[in-house]
């Protein structure tokens, strides 16, 4: 095993290879001994029992695998989980709290990129950017005439679900387009002038579009259900840059196919990378492969944040972006 070569460097466990880890590795491997579970011929449980008993830090990806209580059982010395995502739905936070394991996430480091994706998808659906791009590339403009008209963004009422760091960035951008912004969140933010709705269904009823920016928790699971979608209505548009499971996907697909909502811009899905194939034939839907944070710049910033959190931990300094796990 490689860990003998880096015996002076602190060890950080990584369970699964992913593009982010690959990008991070050159810089990270100079400061840490990356213990790669996937590199071993041993099955994961056996690997952890044999090699990871003294590991204090784990680097996790929002794309998986989930950091479950079972995995944590194999890591008796673990004191820190650092994830490359803002979302923490893949980490058993209750177990971390019980064990006194600190968790650091990506906080606001790519809130801007996610907000850009949300607004980009919103404009795309409203103004039919991807659909008309396909139309032009199909040579249809010359023979069939102009593409059907889109819908004006200015003056539309947009409801943001979840007004955290991402939701706020979305709100700021949409205001510049002349949208009026309202929101639903766990709690009202008194310092903000946007209209607060305690009930997401009422927000939907009063909105032309919903933008989902919240995290996935027990409360938000399938929060966007048939009732909310009906309230949003035939002309309503939904954009999701949160997590797929916040929306009842099966219901949403039925609504889209049946014309009961106006359109959707989706970066996340319940069972990625599987996307309901009924959506592929719809021109009022824009599909994105969970890439809201996948920019060169975000990865550089994220790399610095993740490395910074690990360095802080190993030098007994405060974490740069501790997640609040209450």
């Amino acid at each position: 095993m490689a860990d003998d070569d880096h015996s002076e460097l602190p060890t950080v466990l990584v369970l699964r290879r992913c593009p982010f880890i690959a990008l991070l590795e050159p810089k990270c491997s100079q400061k840490f001994n990356l213990l790669k579970a996937w590199d071993s011929p041993l099955p994961q449980d056996q690997f952890l029992t044999t090699h990871a008993r003294s590991v204090q830090a784990l680097l996790s990806s929002g794309n998986g695998p989930p950091i479950t209580a079972q995995i944590l059982q194999f890591l008796p010395s673990l004191k820190l989980v650092v994830t490359n995502s803002t979302g923490l739905d893949h980490v058993d936070l209750a177990e971390c709290r019980r064990r006194g394991i600190a968790v650091a996430n990506a906080a606001k480091v790519f809130a801007e990129d996610v907000a850009d994706t949300a607004v980009g998808l919103f404009i795309d659906v409203m103004r039919k950017v991807s659909a008309s791009n396909r139309y032009v590339r199909g040579g249809l403009w010359a023979c069939r005439g102009d593409y059907p008209l889109g819908s004006k963004i200015g003056g539309k009422k947009v409801g943001i679900v979840g007004l955290g760091s991402i939701g706020l960035e979305v709100a700021m951008r949409l205001e510049a387009f002349g949208c009026s912004v309202s929101y639903n969140s766990r709690s009202k933010k008194p310092s903000l002038s946007y209209q607060f709705y305690s009930n997401v269904c009422e927000l939907a009823a009063d909105s032309d579009a919903l933008i989902i920016c919240c995290g996935l928790t027990e409360e938000t699971h399938h929060m966007i259900n048939k009732e909310v979608l009906s309230a949003l209505g035939r002309e309503g548009v939904i954009v999701n840059v949160g997590r797929g499971a916040i929306i009842d996907e099966k219901e949403m697909v039925e609504c889209l196919v049946g014309g009961e909502i106006g359109g959707a811009g989706l970066d996340v899905f319940e069972n990625e990378p599987n996307v309901p194939k009924e959506l592929f034939s719809l021109d009022n839907v824009v599909l994105s492969p969970h890439q809201a944070i996948v920019t060169h710049e975000a990865f550089v910033d994220l790399g610095e944040l993740v490395t910074g959190n690990l360095e802080a931990f190993f030098s007994n300094k405060p974490l740069l972006s501790p997640a609040v796990i209450n």
Partner: protein
């Protein structure tokens, strides 16, 4: 007024509402329905009765058409750009010209930002990636962040300012080139387009098309914008040297392009179809129901004002 002959060049697909409202008020002659070989004869047959023309951004009235209509009084364009109308001839002959400013400013600015996001974040390409089943085989690649990038705007009129306002919300520093420096604005002014392009990440064409601005985006400007730069054209096709644009993209000298307009609409150079860093829209800058209706109301309003001897709403000439 239904005895007044109005020649319209605007197909139903651009605005059914405009057509409907014109039909209610005037005797409408639809030149766009006449097969090309018969157009000249059609004009001849109706030449003395036509008192108004309704054109749009892609087709207006050149000297030949104006000269063939001795009783033409007004040209009301369903567009803000009047580059397709021979304004000099209209001035000489006392023919009024109106356009549709302001009502479409927001939509066009929205499309400029929508194109920049679509190109830099590869929204259309990754939509295609998902629809073709490729996501199951692997993640899409890294794209380029839009927030914080320098947006250079050519022409800081109504539309240019609206683009700037939106880009500022994305923390984009704003730079511009204009005929005159606008000292009241806190944006960075560059006296030449090449300097603007050298110092911009995204270059937006938002000025009117005139003799001076034809091919304002030439090889030198494209090279200055560079292999990471993105060109957004929401002006007119002739602002850009189109063959130069294509070769720059082929050779990787330009980072990407979002285009709403082309030299010879609705023809689009097919070489552009293969680029993943290009997004192509069918001149849809003002393409929303709300805005096209508002534009139509302005066209109708101007025509009615003219024929009722009232002041025109939005005269150009």
């Amino acid at each position: 007024m239904d005895s007044i002959d109005v020649l319209t060049l605007v197909p139903t697909s651009i605005s059914a509402y405009l057509e409907q409202e014109l039909d209610k008020r005037f005797n409408v002659l639809k030149l766009w329905t006449v097969p090309v070989p018969n157009k000249t004869q059609f004009i001849k047959d109706n030449s003395s009765s036509i008192r108004a023309i309704v054109g749009h951004g892609g087709v207006g009235a050149d000297a030949e058409l104006i000269d063939s209509l001795p009783n033409l009084e007004i040209i009301s364009s369903f567009s803000v750009g009047t580059d397709k109308i021979d304004l000099k001839k209209c001035k000489e002959k006392g023919i009024r010209v109106t356009n549709t400013p302001d009502v479409l400013t927001d939509d066009v600015a929205d499309i400029a930002i929508g194109l920049a996001l679509a190109v830099m974040r590869r929204l259309c390409e990754s939509d295609r990636y998902v629809r073709s089943g490729q996501w199951k085989k692997g993640d899409y690649k890294l794209t380029t962040k839009f927030t914080g990038k320098t947006v250079g705007i050519i022409g800081l009129g109504r539309i240019g300012k609206a683009v700037a306002k939106r880009a500022v919300a994305f923390s984009c520093p704003i730079a511009y080139f204009s005929r005159t420096e606008k000292l009241e604005l806190k944006y960075k002014y560059y006296p030449t387009v090449v300097e603007l392009a050298s110092n911009s990440d995204v270059l937006v064409v938002a000025c009117p098309l005139t003799e001076e601005t034809r091919h304002i985006i030439n090889r030198e400007v494209i090279d200055a914008l560079g292999p990471k730069g993105v060109l957004i054209n929401i002006g007119r096709g002739h602002h850009v040297d189109e063959p130069e644009l294509v070769s720059a993209l082929l050779e990787g000298r330009l980072g990407g392009a979002g285009l709403d307009v082309y030299q010879n609409e609705p023809e689009v150079p097919e070489q552009l179809f293969g680029f993943e860093n290009v997004v192509l829209l069918p001149h849809a800058g003002s393409g929303t129901t709300e805005t096209r209706n508002a534009m139509a109301d302005l066209v109708i309003g101007n025509l009615e004002a003219h024929f009722l001897n009232k002041p025109l709403l939005t005269p150009v000439v």
